[in-house]
Each structure stands twice: as C-alpha cells, then as structure tokens.
Amino acid sequence: MKFSFNWLQSFFDKKLPKPEKLAEILTMHCFEVEKVEKIGKDFVLDIDVLPNRTDCYSHLGIAREISSILGLKLKEEKWKIQEEKNLKAKDFASIKVFSGCQRYTARVILDVKVGESPQWIKERLEACGIKPINNVVDITNYVMLELGQPLHAFDLEKIEGKKVIVRFAKKGEKISTLDDEKYDLDKDILVIADQKRPIAIAGIKGGKETGISQNTKIVFLESANFDPVIIRRSSVKLDLKTDASMRFSHGLDPNLTEIAINRAAYLISKICGGKIAKGVLDYYPEKALPKKIKLEIEKVESLLGVKIPKSRILKILKNLGFKVNQKLEVEVPTFRRDVSIQEDLIEEIGRIYGYEKIQKQFPISALIPPKKNSEIFWENFVKDVLVSLGFTEVYNYSFLSKEDIENFGFKKEATEIENPASAFYQFLRPSLIPGLIKNIQKNQAEFSEIKIFEIGKIFKNKKEKKALAGVITGEKFFEAKGVIDALLKKMGISNFYFDFYQPTPEESKISIWKIKKSAEIKIDGEEIGFLGEISKRILEKYKIKNNIVAFDIDFEKLAKLATEEHEYEPFSVYPAIVRDISVLVPKNVLVEEIMNVIEEAAGKLIRDIDLFDIYEEIEEERKSLAFRIIFQLKERAILPEEVEKAFQKIIENLEKNPNWEVRKK
C-alpha cells in the first residue's frame, strides 16, 4: 500500500527522519517497507501493512506508529463541521438496513458544485496511486487514505424514493458499475439499493446510475461498516477487488464511520461549497466498546526475555492510542481490533521497544536426551546402503497426471485433487514407480546406466504410507535381487524369500510388470515388496529405450522388521573341502529345487552352496548348472572320506530324478 511521506509529515510539528531512514524504522518496528520512490517533491513509501492491522490502512494509522516509535507527538487536528439548522437530513433521505452491516452512517449535503479538486488533494491521491475524478469523489478517497474508512457518494436525486436499503441481492438482479462493467448479482452478494434496484455493490463498488456527475447537486454520503466475511465472499465471487473491499474484508472499527463522514462532509462543504444537512442518519444497533486487558509486567519480561521499565511500557502504549493507568489496566481503543489478549499487548511493547534490543540467551532446561525416531533412523540407514551400492536418491512430485494414472492402471486407488495446480498434478501418487520411470525417460539421453531410488509418501485410497522404490536400467534383474538381499540383511532381516508373482487374470492385463520376470518379496508369507522388470507396454508408453528392473517396498513394514540387534557367530577354525558338481536338468527346473536336494542329502556337512555357472546353450531342452559345495564343520576337521561319502550321496539323490543328470568331471 502506498503512503505519501509529505502527508505523514503533516501529522507532526517536528521533522521526521529522511524517507529511507523512516522506511527502515517502520520495517524494524511495524511493517516491511518494500520500496521508497521519489515522485516530484514527495516520496512514496510502499508499505506492506499486515492484514490484521486495518487501522494502518491509513496515513493516520502509520503516523500513530511513527509517533510511538520515535516518541513524537501527533498534531491536534482543528476542524469542525457546520450543519445547516434548517435543513434536516432525515427530510431528504432515509435508510433501512436488513443485513450485513454493523453500522450504516449517512449524511446529506446540498448545493454541491462538482468540479476539479484542488491541487493538494490531487497530488496526495496520485502519490498513493488513485486517479482524481472530481472533487466529491476525490474527497471520499482522500478521507479513506487519511483515516482508513471507505466512503461512497451517491447523487441523491437519482435514488428512487430517496430511500437507501442495505440488503442481499435477488437472483437475476444486475448492476452496471462506475467503471462501466456489468455484474450479475445473487443472494450471497450484499447491495445498497433504492426502492427499485441495486445502486451499489456494498463495500466494493458504486453503481453508474447513481454516481456523482457534473450535474449532481445533492450528495448522499455513505460511511458504513460492512460485515468483513460477506464483503470478502462477494469480492471473491465477483472477482472484483477494490481499495474499499480490501479494507472492509479485513474488518474496520465501527466507531470510525462517524469520524470519517464528518471529516468528508467538512471537506466537501469547504471545497465544493456544499451545505451539510443537520443530523447523521445512523444505523448502529450494537455499539462497539473498548476492551479492557490487565497487563502483568512479569509476563512481559518472561515472554520477551528482557526487562523493560514500566515507564517505557506506559509510554509505548499511550503513544499507540491505548489508555493505561499505573496498575497497567489497559483500555484498548476500538480501532485496534487486533488486540484482545495480554500477548497482543506484549507484541506491541516488544516491537516498538525493538526486538534488536533483546539479547539472545540460551534456555535453561532439563537435560533430557531427545527420543530417537526409529523410522527416520531406518530411512537414513536405507539411504546409506543404497547410495553405497551406487544408487542416486531422487525426490519426485507427490502428484501424477491423469495420463500417468491411466497408464499405470491406478484409477481405482488414486486420490484426486479438487483444485490441482494443473492437469500434470491432478492426482496423488499411489506408487513411487511412475516418478522413477519418468526420471529415466528424462535422463536416458545423457546417462546410459541409471540407478535411482526414492523414499517418500504414497497415497492409496486417501491413506498415506511411506514407500521405498528403486530402478536400474538394463538386464539387471539379479543385480536388483542382490541389492534387496544386501539391504535386507544389512537391516537385520534374514527370513525373507522371493516368491513367484501370481496375478489374477484381471491384474495381469493391466500389470506394469513382466509377470514371469517378477517376484514378490515375502517374510512369513506376508508380502513386503515387489521386484521385477517393467512391462514392455509401459516402456513403450514412456519411450524408454532400455530394459528396467524395479523394486517397490512397503517402507513402514520394513522399518518395523528391521533390527539393530546382532550377535556374533563363531566361524569354523578347521579347513574346508571344496567340491564342484555340474547338473544337467530340463530348462524349467528351478535352481532352488536342486539346491534343496543337495542340502537334504548332506546338509549337516555343508557350510555353503554356490551356483557359479549357468549354461543354457548346451542343448535345446536342458541347461547345465554348476555348483560349488563347501564342506566344513565347526567342531572338528572334516575327513576326506566323509566328504566323499556325502558327495556320492548327493549324486545319487540328484540322479533319482530320471531327467536330471550329474556330469562327472
């Protein structure tokens, strides 16, 4: 909001600091001054008045602040209106308020000569960014800038029935405003009406037909206090914001209407030669009274952390317009609608005194160590493992587009945003996978191998969950499986296993996975995650050149299963004997089946079995698998005869299956 430096100066006898200095003082004690601009002989301060300080949407308000910070006295204003004893306002017009208004004040001014405003008014309006129109309208704007009360002037002769009504609009009513715009009104919009039609959108903008023109003789001057909520809603609904609506929608002091209307009437009579009819038409059923607050000096000190002398406290509050006695009983002026509790007063004291004068001081508090957040601990742990395995961490948007949702078949579980930023961000992500795939799409031109992961919230059917997912480009299923294996083991989870993916026919139709190249990651029969290659359909949709292996894990389940407990297991000090065996089996035989047979035949003597070679091109129907078996005992050295016997038993058991053949070397 723009303020004129010269205008502010006019409230004081003493000289104010230079505009830049004043701006700095206001920034540190009241409101941020965003800019100081020299315009002619004046300086314009662009002040970011806080939304709860409607009293400062005026030069008087800012002057009051300056008075308190600098300890300067405000000049006493000397003006008095002269009413015409023989002309009574109520004989010229009447008011009727139905709703939406805490106070409605009006005056009638006759024999007005509409014309151009004097230079000093035009200059001040223009400094504040308001275009001068004619003397009557300019005066209403001038008073708004001076005192903060929006006013409106009607041409009384154009008001049908000379009756001014405050009511909600009826459906189908329309209005043309002063700026030649047309608005359709409805029952939520408060209007000023005469007996026939709406003549203004209450608190927002006046109507064209009853506006002040060169021919206006009798002015009906309105100074009202409209309900902030109603004005705000109307303003949003009509998409129409004005200087008046901005002030009303933040709430004004009802006692200000009378001061402002008198000030405006005074100026009109002085400048436009009008006669002020006797009496104020005033609807004010419930008078706003000053609040009283008891201030405790101990609380001031304890909350701010600084001792401020009582005399200083009293001076600060008095200069801001509060009445306060030696017992620190404070009476809050009605224009300070933002002050209602002791803490509000402490803020006034603190900011005017200066936050910079409060010396920093570490709190004294019990030495209680902070609780460990186990989920964050495991999150960091997982990140450490994955980064050490070569993965780069990404953070993607929590939002997906409708297209993504359809491509991934998430329609049923996806949560839709009522007011999305754009179509790209219309849904909450039910999985981290789409984001990661889009990352590959974006990076594939620059990077041939990509390994990325994300930990973040996913949203399924409005329920949120923390998930972990990662992707690797290339034919890397077993690398990914190795990553899961390493990660889970590092987290102290050992009883996991990989199970075949068995989707329902319906699932498999929309599956984003290559069904036969996917596995469920399970613990005790419960699925905690998924590992697999991304389907060709998705790769094509997102124009991905390379194969992708992805894993998708329920992070919350994982963090619950993880444990830091770990026990040392003594290793064997006796030598091991290593034997290799090669088995020729049909192609559909699982490695696990063979390993189980070996295990069963000689489990007690075996420390480890490694698959070290798979050769598929040997025959059409069969593949060759080579295992390294390590025989070792913890309690004693194993004997070669034992190993030989066990090895023979293994061969024997393997060959019990007629389709399996042990290849002897």
Binding site: M28, C30, P51, N52, P228, R232, S249, H250, S302, L303, L304, G305, I341, E343, D344, I346, E347, G350, R351, Y355, E356, I358, Q359, K360, Q361, F362, P363, S365, P370, N373, N380, K383, V387, S388, G390, T392, E393, V394, Y395, N396, Y397, S398, T415, E416, I417, E418, A421, L428, G435, K438, N439, K442, N443, E446, I450, K451, I452, K457, K462, E464
Partner: protein
Amino acid sequence: MEKIDLKSLENKVRKKIEKAESLKELDTIFKEVFGKDGEVKKISKIIPKLPKKQRKIFGEKFGKMKESLMEEFEKKAKELKEKAEKEVEEKEWIDITIPPPKAPIGHYHPITLARRKIEEIFQSMGFEVVEGPEIEDEWHNFDALNIPPDHPARDVLSLGKTFYLKSGGLMRSHTSSVQIRYMEKNSPPLRIIVPGRVFRLDAIDASHEIDFWQLEGLMVGKDISVANFKAIIEEFLKRFFEKEVKIRLRPSFFPFTEPSFEVDISCVLCNGKGCQVCKNSGWLECGGAGMVHPNVYKNCKLNPKEWQGFAFGFGMNRLVMLKYKIPDIRLFNSGDLRFLHQF
C-alpha cells in the same frame, strides 16, 4: 702337497665380489667359489688328507674364511638387489593424469544432506525429530492453529494456496499441523523439529514450488522467551551455514503466534555487505516465527497460563539453495541426474 694360500684366495674372491655389478655376476662368482667344482669344494676335499696336527689348525682357518666370504656375498647381494630395485623403480611410472574409471558410488539428494545436518544440530540441542501426515484435516491445518473459517489468513491459505482432495481432506500447507498433533499427545516441556513436505497451490517458477520442504520447530516450557528463540535459531543458522551469521526479527502476523516475527539472516553469500541475492539489503528472509498463541495451547488441551514457548517455520529448500548456491527451486523435484550427481 701343494701349498694352499687361504689368504690370497680370500683376497682374490673379495676383489671379485667387490667388482660384481649384477646379481647374476655375483651368482657366477659364488658358484666358482662355493659350487660343486668350486675352490672351496676343492679345498674341503683336501682337508682330510692333511696331517692330523695341521688339519685342525687349517680347518679352523678355512672355516673362518668361508664364513667371512659368505658374509661378504650376502652383503654384496643385498647391495646389488637394492640397487636393481631402485633402477626398476626409477624406470616404472604411471601417468597420474589419466582420468579414472567412475567409482560406482551413488548420491544423496541435497534435501537429505540438509535434513541430516539440521537434525544433527537440533538433536544436539535436545530437540526430537518428529514427522506427521501429509494428508491433513481442516482442524490440524487451520482451526487448531487459531485460523478459524472466515479468518482472512484462512482464506489466503485455503482458497488460494491449499490443495483439497475430492474425497475430503487436504494436503497440509505447512508443517505447523504437526505442532498440534504433537501437543495433543505430549505434554510440555517439549522441544521438537519437523522437517517435511508441504503443498501449496502456486504457479511453479524459479522460486515457487507446489511440493516443497519446510522445517518446523517448537519449544515449549515454563519460561521460554523471545531471547531464547534468538539464541537457538542463531546457533542453528551458524552451524548450518558454517559461518558467523547475524539474525534480526521483524514484526509480522501469524494467527498461531503472538508476538510474531519474520526472521532475517545476514546474507550468507556477501556476509551482509550487499549483493544480488539479498538485493543489496545485506539480509535474507529465512521464515516466520513467534511465541505460540494461547489459543493454540487451549486447542491442544494445555493450559496457556502454564506454558509458553516459540515456534518457527523455515523454507528448507531456500536454506539448501543458499547453502549450495542453487539458483532454481525446480531442480529439487526435477530428478535431473546432472543436478543430483553433484551432491
């Protein structure tokens, strides 16, 4: 019986050893002396034929000579070996300017790096790290924070800035909601920070995001003051930016704090001298803060007469941008590996 001159033999061999220039040469000499047909062997064959009296004396002398020559050989061998190694070392070299193959190491997202640092600093001052839901209700995001419906601040946040879900609920527009969730379950004294994602409806550009990170802090006790807030927050910023910084508080307005302030930090790029980033003011805006409003305690079923404390909410992305000189907020959610591989 030919005369055996051990002395001259020894001298002759010693000279040969001395002259030897390579291990191979030394080896030849050794074989000549100690080999199968070597001089020593020859002499040792003669010894048994010597008269008994002479045999003992000669034998002793012979033995000493052998020993002394052996030592000489070993000494020379060591010398030559060292010399040879040195020569090899001098010849062998590698071009250390060759770029190495890439080590298969991954990278943390800069927000993670900042989070870890922030969490460590606050934990060292006794703050617990807490998280909360990203889908919120009106109560925790607004009402409990003293932002009732029809409050101007509510309108600004709810109509203009908050994402609503079609099925009800909203995406939290600040981490302050977690203040409420924590105080509903825990009694003061308390010290927490809440790093987390927040969501605001906005036009995305270099400095505006719709999905970004906030750092919330809350400390409540019997007599926690503005002076305490200044100390804690300055300490945090000092450690986070690893340099001396100044802070200043400017008056502000938030419905959930009273008094409220904006926290400015002396520009970390120009150290307050004035630069492009701080628009020559020497100060950077960090975020909002204030003393928790009594109504917030009431809404959490705590007695405002009993407790007081501070709360703050900083933009984490902004802190990270300042720390690493990142010019564009959109990079955080971009997934661009050219960006992420730098951290």
